[in-house]
Point group: C2
Chain length 146, copies 2
């Protein structure tokens, strides 16, 4: 008999991993239409809030390493969504800026948040319960960031 602690049903991580994957998949057709991946969409969210950021600030905001973000940004540069240029004050930095195409994508993706948001609404996940879910996930993230 398998111990309770090893049952898949008792694993928080498996739930987070699965929910994250499935929700990312829900974004896929909406973003793919515009040649974007989900992590690239996250970079856009960061740059729409504040344009012209160094790689490090983007990575820190997304809690990713630069070795993940750098290739991702180079692909976005190749797609003409962002530009990357050396910082003037600090020549080590690479400043990432939205192109017109990158900026304009916001209008084209205007329906994405609500479409995905509506896709998860169900019995126990409603506008009333989501804040509580956010709180717990934020707590987990804060805790694991140390």
């Amino acid at each position: 008999m398998i111990e309770e602690k090893f049952k898949l049903e008792n694993q928080l991580c498996f739930r987070l991993y699965t929910a994250s994957r499935l929700l990312t998949q829900a974004y896929h057709p909406l973003l793919g239409e515009h040649g974007l991946t989900y992590p690239q969409y996250l970079v856009l969210l960061v740059l729409w809030e504040k344009d012209a950021q160094p790689v490090n600030d983007i990575a820190k905001r997304l809690l990713l390493e630069t070795n993940t973000v750098t290739p991702l940004l180079k692909r976005m540069e190749a797609e003409g969504i962002v530009t990357r240029s050396k910082g003037k004050e600090d020549a080590r930095q690479m400043i990432v800026r939205l192109t017109k195409k990158g900026h304009d994508l916001q209008k084209k993706l205007t329906d994405v948040p609500d479409t995905v948001g509506n896709a998860v609404i169900c019995e126990n996940v409603t506008p009333e319960t989501v804040p509580g879910l956010f709180g717990m996930l934020d707590d987990i993230i804060k805790q694991l960031k140390q």
Copy 2:
């Protein structure tokens, strides 16, 4: 001014994605000690519950595609953790079985669930609130599976 719906702080998916990544990272040192990755650990959880399963059953249980699971299992086979052999009733199936090494890993990993479990305990995430979190995540998963 950026719209509310595009703010990173209002995204469920980003929270799930980040929490999943960070929690998986918490497993990394514990599993890496035994030459395992997190997805490989998930396969072990499935096989410890029930040995000798075809690739498809493992993939379905983890909500993954076989094209993800097949290479993963081949790596585990190369590590001597599982064997893969053609099914006798249905020659299309590949039956995956734990080796002694794979079976014995359970004892060696006995502390992993509690160690990781304790790492997430914090103010809003306690033995009392976790069932509610499980319920919401299960709801999201169920909803997105269609």
